[in-house]
Structure formats: structure tokens, C-alpha cells
């Protein structure tokens, strides 16, 4: 863990200490925002959008199964800290690899829906990002459609919107 901590920037280190060393927030080489949760090494990378909303998490880590030419696939596990180190360096230097190799789960906003407001007043994303929701309380999730979520619809131009009607939020 010392090696990982030693290469954090001062800002990253401050954030790391502020969350009781439970996560590392890092900006990728392409400008994406990621959080590495230090509670495991599988599915522990969260991607945030520019507003801080979680838009997905990725399962990607240094390979534990190594192909040795004469021995075939062998299991060669890494320590947690070394796995986090690999995740951190890859995000920071090769963010594209995380997008392309990682197994992604896309998320919708888990916040409570905004309370009913006076007709005509804008409704805003409950996560506090400031985005204004449309009449169907949609349009603040952007990501690829998932078959399991039939309430995610693909609008013209490739924009994905997701309804947050109350009867479906818990699905």
C-alpha cells in the first residue's frame, strides 16, 4: 500500500485521507473521473460523469490467471494493494483500456426522486448536479441501453434516456 500512496498527487492524497482511506478518486488520461473503492478488487471501479453522478462501474483488475507457455493457465494472485496500484496506473495512463477491457455495469441514479413541486417549476436531478429533468423525470442518465431495463429508451440521435417513474425505481 505504501507504493500506491507514495505516487498519489497531493489532491488525491487529501481526498484519500478525507474518506478514511476507503477510496481513491483519480482523473484518467482522457479526462474521465473514476473512483477506486478499496474494499476489493472486483467491480470496484466507479465512473462518474461531470456532475459526480455514478454512471457505471467496471470489473477490471490485473490478471490473476497467467498463461505460462509450458504450464498452461496458472493461478497467481496479487495482493489487494498491488491490484489497486495496477488499476490506478492504468486509469491514469491508459483510460481507454479501462473502457475497452472492463466489464461494465451501468447504473441509474439511486437518489430519491425529487419531491413534487409547483407546476411549472423545473425539477432537478436529485443528486445535486443541477441538471433539469423533463416532464417525465427523465434525461439525466446517459449510457448504453441495457436489455434488463425496459424503461431505458433510445431516443433519436443515440441519446439514451431513462424514466424514473416511482413504480419502476426498485426494479
Amino acid at each position: 500500500m505504501d507504493l500506491l500512496i507514495s505516487i498519489l498527487t497531493p489532491e488525491e492524497r487529501d481526498a484519500f485521507e478525507a474518506c478514511n482511506r476507503r477510496a481513491i478518486e483519480v482523473v484518467g488520461s482522457e479526462g474521465g473521473r473514476f473512483v477506486i473503492d478499496l474494499g476489493g478488487t472486483q467491480g470496484n471501479i466507479r465512473k462518474l460523469d461531470e456532475h459526480g453522478c455514478q454512471v457505471g462501474n467496471a470489473c477490471i483488475a490485473p490478471a490473476a490467471r497467467i498463461d505460462r507457455r509450458w504450464e498452461g493457465m496458472v493461478y497467481s494472485p496479487l495482493g489487494y494493494a498491488d491490484s489497486w496500484l495496477g488499476q490506478y496506473l492504468t486509469i491514469k495512463h491508459q483510460e481507454r483500456m479501462v473502457d475497452e477491457v472492463g466489464i461494465w455495469s451501468r447504473y441509474r441514479c439511486r437518489q430519491e426522486p425529487p419531491p413534487a413541486q409547483d407546476p411549472g417549476s423545473p425539477r432537478r436531478c436529485p443528486c445535486g448536479c443541477g441538471l433539469v429533468l423533463d416532464d417525465n423525470m427523465a434525461a439525466y442518465y446517459i449510457g448504453p441501453p441495457l436489455a434488463a431495463f425496459d424503461f431505458i429508451t433510445l431516443a433519436e440521435g443515440g441519446t439514451v434516456t431513462m424514466s424514473l417513474t416511482t413504480d419502476r425505481r426498485e426494479r
Partner: protein
Amino acid sequence: MTDTVQRTEEHVLHITDSTGDTRVMWDPRNTDEVAAARAAFDSAKGRGMMGFAVDPHSGERTGEQIREFDETAGKIIMVRQLAGG
């Protein structure tokens, strides 16, 4: 009378694998040490590991992923390639 020891900038290669964090240090002026570090780098690279040159004192990006050993780099960290799981 005391000897004066001239300290040089630290150059270290970290190789993180299942045996832990293996460190190889070298002095750029010492050809034997440079050769040993280069051999360790090439060996790890041959096992499919990736090398990153980072600032010795912080994680600030100091270059792209390196594919060849750079004896002038302050700190090189080698990690296994990532795989989706």
C-alpha cells in the same frame, strides 16, 4: 575527518507480482546496475507486464506507458495487464 557521501537521485524499478513488490535500484552512472535493471525490466515485460514511469515523489503523469527501459526515469512501476472479470 568524515567522508562526504554524494547522494544521487533515486532510480528504482518496482515489479509487482505474486511475490510482492520487488525493487531494483540503479545509479545511471553504474553500467552494471543499469544492465541489471534493464534485464529485470525486460524480463517482466516478457511476462506481459506493463511499465509506467511516474514522478518519484508524486503520481503526476510524467510520460506515457513505457515499452523500453529508460535509465533516466526516476521511478518505473511494472504491473500486470488488466483483464475484465
